[in-house]
Symmetry: C2
Subunit: 426 residues, 2 copies
């Protein structure tokens, strides 16, 4: 039987995540080095501590450890968020906080609670594919705003708003990732953060601030002060802030949170009730214990050094292997290096050669809601070991050379759309 007639309009626009798609490709190639997914390095997970904690929690003395729990979240964990948020300059009441099953759920719930089909969400160009997918599934109309070296371009932001509003469109939300943005690694400058907030007040737009990477700043270029969330200066309840434990403890626990105005968070909680009832009971307790025992705090310092080193290894390798063939934004934190291919090369075409060379990445166009970005790619340096980073970049260089060679020899399979574009140097 055919199911086409049974699918909703939302289902008809749903698309597979380009990142997850890369994962599926990777699973079929032997000895692949993947720069694709934004996975933390499991070597950094505090395994011994987690084992001790779960051993204690599963004694059986507290039945609630494996029971359904409050949709709002395990109460001691919701309370423990206060100190984490305060350290980031954010004051929040208990009722302004909600535990989510990962930040992806936070984005999904926000889309459902805020967006009617056709409502506009302004997003950075490029932006996180998971946000794009969550907003698309709510049938939002996503409009991109270009970024400068210090983040979203304010003139373009307001011009976009004006254009849409003049056309009778409702611009409800601005979605930003101010710290080590996924995929570009950019930070919004401190002055600009305040300007974004003022703009949102003036134009009556809600700001959704997604901040999974703030703890992972690299000390050689960036200070804690530069990561101050927009939410920290939000006196009027204009900003909805998402934080996560996936990058600092482990993503396998699926525990994150939202902080926002009480009326919005109350709706998110009701939406969550019907979505999965509650986040995992054991997962939330492990995370709570990791906070209470100082494990999360200790992770921060350790991870900053760990990922900074990997970043250095990848950049050194890129300079050695691909100088001139790609340019990139120097990552100041987080997991990602954002690269642009020289000479008008297409990242999608490169990917075919890359998989042949047993390395993979995410093509940049998936991060652009306007369909641009053909020459860009995202390289994650978070998970592979330093040795694999070096080897992966060497393989990438092989792929770039193979693409270059194929373009100089149309018979070798270069598509006609590339005819006339000059060959890369690398």
């Amino acid at each position: 039987m055919s199911y086409d007639g049974f699918l909703s309009r939302a289902a008809n626009v749903m698309k597979e995540s380009p990142i997850r798609l890369m994962g599926a490709v990777g699973a079929r190639v032997h000895d692949l080095i993947s720069f694709a997914p934004g996975y933390p390095d499991p070597a950094t997970f505090p395994w011994d501590e987690f084992r001790t904690i779960t051993g204690e929690l599963l004694s059986g003395s507290d039945g609630n450890v494996l029971q359904y729990g409050p949709t709002r979240g395990y109460r001691p964990l919701v309370e423990a968020l206060d100190a984490i948020l305060s350290a980031r300059g954010i004051a929040s009441a208990f009722d302004e906080r909600l535990i989510t099953t990962g930040s992806q759920q936070g984005l999904d719930l926000l889309a459902r609670v805020l967006i009617d089909p056709g409502d506009v969400i302004l997003v950075e160009l490029p932006t996180y594919t998971g946000a794009i997918a969550a907003f698309r599934n709510a049938q939002a109309d996503q409009v991109g705003v270009p970024q400068d070296a210090d983040g979203i371009n304010l003139e373009a932001l307001d011009a976009t708003w004006s254009r849409l509003t003049s056309a009778g469109r409702r611009v409800k939300v601005l979605y930003v990732v101010p710290n080590f943005q996924n995929p570009t690694g950019l930070l919004i400058g401190l002055e600009k953060r305040r300007a974004v907030l003022e703009w949102a007040e003036r134009r009556n737009v809600l700001v959704v601030e997604d901040d999974p990477y703030c703890d992972l700043y690299f000390r050689d270029t960036t200070t804690l002060a530069e990561t101050r969330p927009i939410k920290a200066d939000d006196a009027n309840g204009r900003v909805i802030y998402l934080g996560s434990f996936s990058k600092t403890l482990a993503p396998g626990f699926r525990v994150a949170w939202i902080v926002g105005p009480v009326p919005i968070v109350a709706k998110l909680e009701i939406a969550k009730q019907a979505t999965d009832i509650c986040a995992g009971a054991l997962d939330q307790r492990v995370v709570h214990q990791a906070i209470a025992r100082g494990i999360l705090e200790a992770q921060g310092e350790r991870l900053r050094a760990h990922y900074q080193h990997k970043r250095t290894v990848m950049e050194d390798a890129l300079r050695k292997e691909l100088d001139g063939a790609i340019s990139w934004v120097a990552p100041r934190g987080g997991f990602f290096l954002w690269a642009t291919l020289a000479g008008g090369m297409d990242a999608g075409l490169l990917l075919t050669h890359a998989i042949e060379a047993r390395v993979t990445f995410v093509i940049g166009s998936g991060f652009y809601v306007d369909g641009t970005g053909a020459g860009t790619l995202r390289l994650s340096f978070s998970q592979p070991s330093p040795e694999r980073l070096v080897e992966g970049v060497a393989r990438l260089a092989t792929a770039v050379r193979a693409l270059g060679a194929s373009r100089q020899d149309p018979a070798a399979g270069a598509p006609s759309t590339l005819t006339g574009i000059s060959a890369p140097r690398g």
Copy 2:
């Protein structure tokens, strides 16, 4: 600032779950005995086994134990579903299965993938509130069909379909809980199950079969054969089947599954990607190990006896304390006893007296999509100890007497709507 103008139409129709609401009430009353939530008894959880399993899983030798995982689910777990489904008579390919973050997520994903605002879902009267909420959040139009002692009334089902279809409405889905239905505890008879399937084929409606309780049949009245899922006879991909580990292992793990036609399940997977990326990595592995080590199998026999005994304790207590004041459906499995108050008493009014007597339940009207059911209530016998079941029923009897007394004395607060309705006997 006001947020009303920012909320979506979906958000504006979202309502708090009546079950979860009861939980909030309960948290504020000292020594409350709760017959409200459908919580399994944590005394039955295999704590030692779970502790052993997590201790082994968290050795650190496999980084994937705490990593992001495939949206489809942890592969060995998806594979292990085969034996569970086969034992229920259901043949399924790998691609027809999806792990969900609890069955609530399955219902939510189905609603989003199948329903456009205004599409009709037919549901039993009464039916599970979590399904009602998930369907409501997708802005489905839910239409109720009455039940007989052997489940949904087929004549009413077809008459409802005909009426709606004649009126130009699209009836996409029939939602049923054939085994120990939440809230009534009813089973759909075997003959009727086949008739439901034939009806769905004839009328081109998808069947969503929600089956969390099938393992919990009570041997004194019910056989395994009587729980055979509708899906077992589904040769044409008409039925989407939901199963769960929440009642047989523990709900704190948030692991359940869907089985359905490949095109639908593929869409559900894409929807899930943007909803929470994947179910908990550790949770899924614990569940998989519990299957592989025979723990799930052993739980089945143990839980059937455990809950049957509690059911007997509650029924004996009801006969002793509330004979004549309430009638009920004898539970043949599952967690719930469905009761109707005699004499036109209102369960909402009773609840006030019940909380005063330190016992609580869920008022039945929350399970009716047509707003009826004022005289009904759901009593869960799953979680309280036998002693608390007896004490809780005694308290309930106190509440019923208090309500009766208040109705005979209008000055004591009986609402005018009850004037003229005869007082209960009990």
